[in-house]
Subunit: 392 residues, 2 copies
């Protein structure tokens, strides 16, 4: 698959993180792009998040570049906004875009001052290294505790030609639904006005980034940006927009799923499907409650078909439903029918639960048509190990 | 301290749990007692919880005995209500109390049928063994993954004499605020009408059981019962009721704290104090968000002064506050002032965080007078180990 036209990427090591691996990523569009973005709903917001909001307002949603650093969240810092501003200003001069068209993003430890000089010193090399095919390098540079880089791609054939979509993202702790989780950047060469783009992103996020959870914590830095630079020369017909939106949503879904799969310490991706709830929103709440239950997640880690915890977690979602009309499947095996145990082979299911992907289906019989899909990961001792000494 | 007058206790092994340790506890009052109770708010409710509600209604809040089994939650079971009913009926005959005055409670695994015959067979011996001083034995019999029995006692000297309060409780997973968490039974020999008792319990729960969290999961069986049999012959003067309520609340607080301290896999009790919030309710929401953050709890497990996670967790509570007016203390050491890092000795604080009790204080400067206290525990690899194979 071809990458979207008109974008350049690069990565470099600026010395922000201690390990000597790239900690700086740059995404530049040749033509200014229409942008849509969603940010964390945490009351504590990092300096780059505040700056992004301000810049997008000032630029009327036009973006020339995204500059990301890993290793320092630039949050709860005295000089945070000044540092982010200095970095954007330096990038603005080098890239010849107005400063308000440079979006900053940061990820890493909270509460440590970010030294802008290191990034500014690395910038000329970073700009020099810009290439259309360094997408993967950039995706690697934004990683923190991630084990693998996370990218996804799509192409849509429209009447007037092909448009392309590419996305990168990072996890893998402090992952929670309710928002664009962690950092994600998607680019397309379709021509889409900013107003359309915002609506498309909002809907696509609802079924992707808002449907994953690793540990129930929402970060202070969550940022998801979607750029559309029109470099393909293809302006989708209004009737074709749903097709483009579907492709964008699939890319975001794939990225979100990759985050859950690579959750800190995770060995398994868990997909949760709820059906028969009063409506889609209550289905999502039940799925989220199951996904956030440490007891469900540890049971899956131990390949233990503890469906009682699934039922109990669903009961904590604040949604009225009848347990006696509820069935639960794990890995396609019926474990609970009408709210009580169904006969199944413990040994057989235990083996099936050892797989790297586990599916939990909770279905309520009745007139409800609400459905939701949610992704999370199992909860292992490794999560504790990673997080007991992240900072020191 | 003397136990409340007029109560008998006993414990026995009925073979409900596999390990051959007592799994049956009986609390009997010589005179029928006024009772108040709170139950889980989970939509999935165990058979004994449903029965308790029904019985308390039918008996107008009068209780003769509480019969508890550990090892099986009697939840999501086909024959659950029938089994609980059969057990209560047998106890009713032996104890000569109407069936609606026997409250059943269960804790243990969900979704496995409870065999009432085992309990019924053990009942005569259990009744035979009733003694006024077997409080501790009963407290031991209701344990599941608890490492220690949990009891608390108080005495209040009133104008007309002394009244006594005793409480027992169990944890130590599926512990969450918002309700009477897990099982708790408190008895007093004061004479208190049921209507007063209910109000007192509700307020006392708000500052005790509703202020602890181990893993954020609310059980299907949570039950807290308070009995007042009047056996002391002391009817508190209306002006003395606050004193009695305070003593009851202190007993419940002590029990709740003991649950948090003995949370599954926990090595440390964490006390969270929030002040300066818009009101007490929002302070409690912020404290709860901090207490429920796996990232905060793992950091404390690693004695890592990661205050950024504390600030971020507070930001997820949905309460509007200014991070720039926020200070955080850990073990009395100022780690964050005005929302940014305060200078402190890493090594010194790390050592202080190795203590079995850790205190986190988050204070917002300004006009807000909202305060809350909350208890939780650290989050260790042992929690995962316990829960990855609880059932099998």
């Amino acid at each position: 698959m071809t990458l979207p036209l008109g974008y350049l990427y690069s990565a470099a090591y600026a010395g922000i993180r201690q390990a000597a691996k790239d900690d700086l990523a740059l995404i530049v569009t040749g033509l200014p792009a229409h942008a849509a973005a969603v940010f964390t709903q945490n009351r504590v917001q990092a300096a780059p998040v505040k700056l992004c909001r301000r810049f997008l307002k000032a630029s009327h949603g036009m973006v020339g570049a995204i500059l990301v650093n890993a290793g320092n969240a630039n949050c709860a810092t005295r000089t945070g906004e000044k540092a982010a501003m200095a970095v954007c200003k330096a990038a603005s001069l080098l890239l010849r875009y107005p400063i308000a068209q440079i979006l900053p993003a940061s990820t890493g430890v909270i509460g440590v001052e970010l030294d802008p000089k290191r990034i500014i010193a690395a910038l000329p090399g970073l700009v020099e290294a810009l290439r259309p095919d360094r997408f993967e390098d950039a995706a690697r540079a934004i990683m923190t505790t991630d084990l693998v880089p996370k990218t996804a791609f799509a192409e849509v054939k429209l009447r007037r030609g092909v448009v392309r979509i590419a996305g990168m993202t990072k996890g893998s702790g402090m992952i929670h639904p309710r928002m664009a989780t962690t950092l994600g950047f998607a680019v397309t060469d379709a021509h889409i006005p900013a107003s359309h783009l915002r609506v498309m992103l909002k809907r696509a996020v609802e079924r992707s980034y808002n449907r994953i959870s690793v540990d129930g914590d929402t970060s202070t830095n969550d940022t998801l940006v979607l750029l559309a630079n029109g470099a393909s020369g293809v302006r989708p017909d209004p009737r074709e927009l749903p097709q483009v939106e579907e492709a964008i949503a699939r890319v975001l879904e794939s990225l979100a799923r990759a985050i859950a799969r690579d959750g800190e310490g995770a060995r398994k991706l868990i997909t949760i499907l709820v059906s028969g709830a009063p409506n889609n929103d209550s289905a999502a709440r039940m799925a989220r409650a199951i996904a956030n239950s440490p007891l469900v997640k540890t049971a899956v880690a131990g390949s233990d078909a503890n469906w009682g915890r699934i039922l109990s977690a669903a009961g904590n979602a604040g949604v009225a439903f009848q347990p006696a009309r509820t069935a639960i499947h794990m890995q396609d095996v019926l474990v609970c029918r009408d709210g009580v145990a169904a006969p199944f082979s413990e040994a057989g299911l235990k083996q099936k639960l050892d797989a790297p992907e586990c599916e939990i289906r909770l279905a309520i019989r009745g007139r409800g048509k609400g459905e939701a899909r949610f992704w999370t990961c199992d909860f292992t001792e490794e999560y504790i190990r990673i997080n007991a000494s992240y900072r020191t």
